[in-house]
Every structure is written in structure tokens, then in C-alpha cells.
């Protein structure tokens, strides 16, 4: 369908109200600036596809920072170089919108190199118009990543040198090594023929997005008469004769034909569904287990569990805390985290209390789970007078030195081996502690373990290990002595 009249495209505002000053019909660009031509080609293509209402145009930082003066569509002005990231956020939120990222060479290939690389690599279904004028137009003709070797700019007064500044970046070629981009073409704003090629490429870039085909980038070699210090007609010639000789024109990559449009469905969720997904409405776990009567000395324990990584230290702490929670206690669990864990030792702090808990940190310790010797060495002295130390006597071949604390020696690793899984050492210890302190019911612990253990095949082993630990304490009454120093090491 040929138009009889060529005139200002409708996707431009009739009057550029956002532009300051009294002249609201002309652009803010210099005479002969390529940006103006490119704008017109984009606006015309937007008209053609009828996408003005659903388009979101992202203006960069550079001479085209004010592109939002002109395009009659949703407009967002982005930080320098970040337009592809902003575009990503927009497109993911509004998959039906048409998102244009319009960027200069400083913006895209300089400060925003990472953003464009990754947007391209993700194959965002957006259209990028990359205006390569081999200079920083806006800030006064400084070198751009695309400035040619030998080209003089205000920051390369003797000409760009390979040694100092490296080679100009060929963005299309660079991106073409990526799998995802669908369409990469370089065009130039020079004579009628090239402008028409640019027009076609710009249309195709937008069409790809309309059809959901993926990432398109059109690099446009564009005159900057002001930045180059030449007249517009000469600038146009320089693009043709010099710039286009350094940056090869034409299609660099085109997978449009084989690109499969992505279908995006957006599902709505009810409040109930969301709560359920977050785990807030699991059936039957609403009730609390009764808090047993606990001896004063075992009330409100501040517990430290320590051992080496792989002994399930953190998990043991979580089971303690979670059982406490299911019994209606206040509780906190605090891990040692990061490299400390990688170093081989792990410890966590658990507090169980009838009252709101202040510091989750355990320094003065009521109950110490020493799962290996270094743990006992390190924390033995932190245990308060009359506190309780649970010693994994399978791995710790010394007695507790203190005689003002209660000690429970449990051959936990051996007992775990008996149920067929060394890893269940932690459950043996938990069983021993539960039997000793009676702080929560055994049913509660087993329920919690059931709730927490991810791999259900371990459930049975865990339960057996837990019972082993419990029985060990219950059957070894002699351990409940009051004379701490007479505890027998076994």
C-alpha cells in the first residue's frame, strides 16, 4: 500500500510539548544529525505496524536522551547504558508491549557494554537501535568505543591509537557470536539508497518483535556533523566513504526465518493458591503439641551445637527449633555461615524459650552438643555451671574436664551405624537430648522430622536413630547422677 503523501509520521507527537523553549515543532538535534532521520524511520515503521499504543520507547543518555520529546507512545528515560536492562524489566512485565531500546555508541558499547551483551544473550524479545556515530556527541566530541583509528576527538587530540585506546568495537560482529540474537544488521544514513535500506532494517527489527521472534539489533552508522566538525553534507559523505568502509554494511546475522515465536501465558493466582504455594496452608500442622513439664534446670535452654560439616549440625539445630515451635515455644536458630562452614567445622545456636527471645546468639551456653573433639575443646568452657554437655563419645575420646556441669556421653555415631546410617548421628543426639530434657514430646520431634526431611527414604532411619538415642538415655539411668564428677566415660 503506497502512501500518496509522505509527511510527519503519526507516531510522532503533533507538537513536541515536552521540549523546552518556544519551538515545539523542530527536533533538538543539530542540522544534518543522523538521529533525526533514524527517528523518522522508526516512527514511520511504528505507524505501519499500528503499535503506537503498545510501544514503550526507552531513551538513553546521549544526544537522543530526549527521544521522549518525539515518540507518541509510552516513554522511559534510562540511566546511561542501562536501556537494555530497563527494556528487560519492561518486556518481562508487559510481554505484549513493543519495547525499543535506542542507544548511542558510548551508551551501548561503552558504559553499557555488559547490559547489551546480556540482553542479547538472553534473546530478549526487544528491538535495539544502535546509533553509531563514532563519537560522544552529547558531551562534546570525545572518543567513543567505535571511534576509528587515527580519528581525532577531544580526548584523542592526536588521533585514536591502537596502542593507547585499542581498536574500534564492532558491535554487530561481537553479538553475532552469541546464540540467541535473531537479527543483526548494520546500515548507514547516507544516500537515498542506504537510507531506504536502513528503513527496511528498522521495520524488520520491529516486525520481529511484533511476531515474538526475539532479539534484533540494527546498528546505524549515523552522521554527527557537529561532533566531527564538518558540514552535514560532508558528514554524510564521511559515513559513506570512511565509516562504512570500516564497519561492514549489511546483514551480520539473520535467523528470522527459523525463529519460533515464543508464546507467553500469564496465569492469575488466587490468594488461597498463593498462600498454599508459600507453604502457609499445609493441612493438619496447625495444632501444637503439649509442652511437657520441664525441670527448671532444663528450661529456656540456650543451645550450641558444634561438629564438623557433614554431621548434620545445622539440620539438628533446625529440628530442635522446629520441634520447639510446634510445642508453642519461642525459638531461634542461628548458623555460622560462609567460609567458616567450608573450613570443615559447623556450629549453630538454638534458643528455646517461654519468653520472647532477645539475642539469638549463644555465648553463655546451657546445653552444648559436642559432636567432635575440636567442638568440645572450643566450647566446653562456655557452658554455664550446672549446664549440660552432650558428648558424642564415638568420636571424642576424652572426658569433659569440668566437674560443675552435667555430662551425657552418647556413642552417637556407633548407634547411628547400628541403624545403618552414620549420617543419622545427629538424630541419635537429638533423641538423647529429648529424653534427657523432656522439653518436647517425642511425637512432636518425629512429626517435625517428618515435616522437614526432604528425602523420605531417610525418614525411617531417622526415626530409628532418634529412638536409639532416646532409649540409650532412658536405659542408662546411672547417667542422671547429681555428682557430675562421677560420670563414667564409656
Amino acid at each position: 500500500m503506497a502512501k500518496d503523501i509522505l509527511e510527519k509520521p503519526e507516531s510522532f507527537y503533533k507538537v513536541f510539548e515536552r521540549k523546552s523553549g518556544s519551538n515545539k515543532l523542530t527536533s533538538h538535534y543539530c542540522p544534518g544529525c543522523g538521529h533525526g532521520v533514524i527517528h523518522k524511520l522508526i516512527a514511520e515503521a511504528m505507524d505501519e505496524f499500528g503499535i503506537g499504543n503498545r510501544s514503550v520507547f526507552i531513551s538513553p543518555v546521549g544526544c537522543s536522551v530526549f527521544a521522549y520529546y518525539y515518540f507518541d507512545c509510552g516513554n522511559i528515560q534510562a540511566p546511561h547504558g542501562r536501556a537494555p536492562a530497563v527494556a528487560t524489566g519492561v518486556k518481562r512485565a508487559l510481554p505484549d508491549s513493543i519495547v525499543v531500546s535506542y542507544q548511542g555508541d558510548g551508551d551501548l558499547a561503552g558504559i553499557g557494554g555488559n547490559e547489551i551483551l546480556h540482553a542479547a544473550n538472553r534473546g530478549e524479545n526487544i528491538t535495539v537501535f544502535f546509533v553509531n556515530n563514532a563519537i560522544y556527541g552529547m558531551t562534546g566530541s570525545q572518543m567513543a568505543p567505535t571511534t576509528l583509528i587515527g580519528q581525532k576527538t577531544t580526548t584523542t587530540p592526536y588521533g585514536r591509537s591502537v596502542k593507547n585506546e585499542g581498536y574500534p568495537i564492532k558491535v554487530c560482529e561481537l553479538l553475532s557470536s552469541l546464540e540467541a540474537p535473531v537479527y543483526l544488521e548494520r546500515v548507514a544514513i547516507t544516500d537515498a539508497k542506504n537510507v531506504m535500506k536502513a528503513r527496511k532494517a528498522i521495520r524488520k527489527g520491529l516486525q520481529n518483535q511484533v511476531e515474538g521472534k526475539g532479539f534484533s539489533l540494527i546498528e546505524i552508522l549515523s552522521p554527527c556533523p557537529t561532533g566531527w566538525g564538518v558540514k552535514p553534507v560532508e558528514a554524510k559523505k564521511w559515513v559513506e566513504e570512511v565509516l562504512a568502509k570500516n564497519f561492514q554494511l549489511g546483514v551480520i546475522k539473520d535467523k528470522t526465518a527459523e525463529a519460533v515465536p515464543e508464546v507467553i501465558e500469564q496465569k492469575k493466582f488466587t490468594s488461597e493458591e498463593i498462600s498454599k504455594i508459600l507453604g502457609a496452608s499445609k493441612n493438619g500442622s496447625d495444632f501444637l503439641y503439649d509442652k511437657p513439664d520441664v525441670k527448671t534446670n532444663y528450661q529456656n535452654p540456650r543451645i550450641k551445637i558444634s561438629g564438623f560439616g557433614g554431621q548434620g549440625i545445622l539440620f539438628l539445630g533446625q529440628l530442635l527449633s522446629q520441634s520447639a515451635m510446634r510445642s508453642g515455644y519461642h525459638t531461634t536458630w542461628l548458623p555460622s555461615y560462609g567460609p567458616e562452614m567450608r573450613g570443615g567445622t559447623a556450629n549453630c545456636h538454638v534458643i528455646i524459650s517461654n519468653n520472647r527471645i532477645g539475642s539469638p546468639l549463644v555465648t553463655e551456653t546451657d546445653v552444648l552438643f559436642a559432636m567432635n573433639l575440636p567442638s568440645l575443646d572450643k566450647f566446653e568452657n562456655d557452658v554455664r555451671k550446672d549446664g549440660l554437655i552432650l558428648v558424642n563419645s564415638s568420636l571424642i575420646n576424652r572426658n569433659v574436664k569440668r566437674n560443675d556441669v552435667e555430662v551425657l556421653y552418647v556413642p552417637a555415631t556407633e548407634l547411628a551405624d547400628e541403624v545403618g546410617n552414620t549420617k543419622a548421628t545427629n538424630l541419635v543426639m537429638l533423641g538423647a537430648y529429648a529424653a534427657k530434657s523432656k522439653i518436647f514430646s517425642h511425637d512432636c520431634v518425629l512429626f517435625t522430622a517428618n515435616e522437614t526431611v526432604k528425602r523420605k527414604e531417610f525418614l525411617k532411619v531417622n526415626e530409628e536413630a532418634f529412638r536409639k538415642g532416646m532409649e540409650y538415655v532412658l536405659n542408662n539411668k546411672q547417667k542422671e547422677n547429681k555428682e557430675y564428677d562421677s560420670v563414667i566415660f564409656n
Binding site: 500500500m1 503506497a2 502512501k3 500518496d4 503523501i5 509522505l6 509527511e7 510527519k8 509520521p9 510522532f12 519551538n23 515543532l25 523542530t26 527536533s27 538535534y29 543539530c30 542540522p31 544534518g32 544529525c33 543522523g34 538521529h35 533525526g36 532521520v37 527517528h39 523518522k40 524511520l41 516512527a43 505501519e48 518525539y70 544514513i189 544516500d191 537515498a192 539508497k193 537510507v195 531506504m196 535500506k197 528503513r199 527496511k200 556533523p225 558540514k231 552535514p232 553534507v233 554524510k236
Partner: protein, 92 residues
């Protein structure tokens, strides 16, 4: 849309002599005198006016005859609303 304009650019090696039913309108107040349009107008029917516009430029004007309606000036003009090309001589 067809590739009409691209074809038009290559259309006529000697267009001036042919009678064309087209014209171009230039809003001189919006012209920045970059002269890119003059450069590309094959029949050479655009010229710089002697008067100044409010921006201080000598705007380009149509000599009044000979426009082929090729549209090339419209596409090379960086300004959004200076040039209107009527391919058939209709009054808009």
C-alpha cells in the same frame, strides 16, 4: 508497505524532462539548512531561500516545478515535519 520509495530512487535517469504530477511542501520555519535534501534531489528542484527563518537559517524551498514525488528528500531530512511530499498533485 511496498518498497516503493526504494524503487523510485532508481526510477528515472533523467526525470526533469518528464511531466510529473507531484509536488513538495517545505515549512521553512522548521528547516535547519542542512542541505541534505538538495543533495539528493535528482531533478534539482530544491534551493536555499534568501530569507531567514526564526531559528536563523536560510530555509530550503521548492522552485515550484519539476518534483517527481520520489520522496527522497523526505527521508534524508532529519527534521520530523519540514517536508511533505505529494506524490500526486493533490491539495492536502
Amino acid at each position: 508497505m511496498s518498497e516503493l520509495n526504494l524503487e523510485m530512487v532508481n526510477e528515472d535517469p533523467n526525470p526533469v524532462k518528464k511531466k510529473h504530477n507531484a509536488r513538495v511542501e517545505i515549512d521553512g520555519e522548521l528547516c535547519k539548512e542542512c542541505l541534505l535534501c538538495i543533495e539528493v534531489c535528482a531533478p534539482d528542484v530544491l534551493k536555499v531561500s534568501e530569507s531567514l527563518n526564526k531559528m536563523g537559517y536560510h530555509p530550503v524551498e521548492y522552485i515550484g516545478d519539476g518534483c517527481t514525488g520520489c520522496g527522497v528528500c523526505f527521508y534524508v531530512c532529519p527534521e520530523p515535519g519540514v517536508i511533505r511530499v505529494f506524490k500526486k498533485n493533490k491539495v492536502a
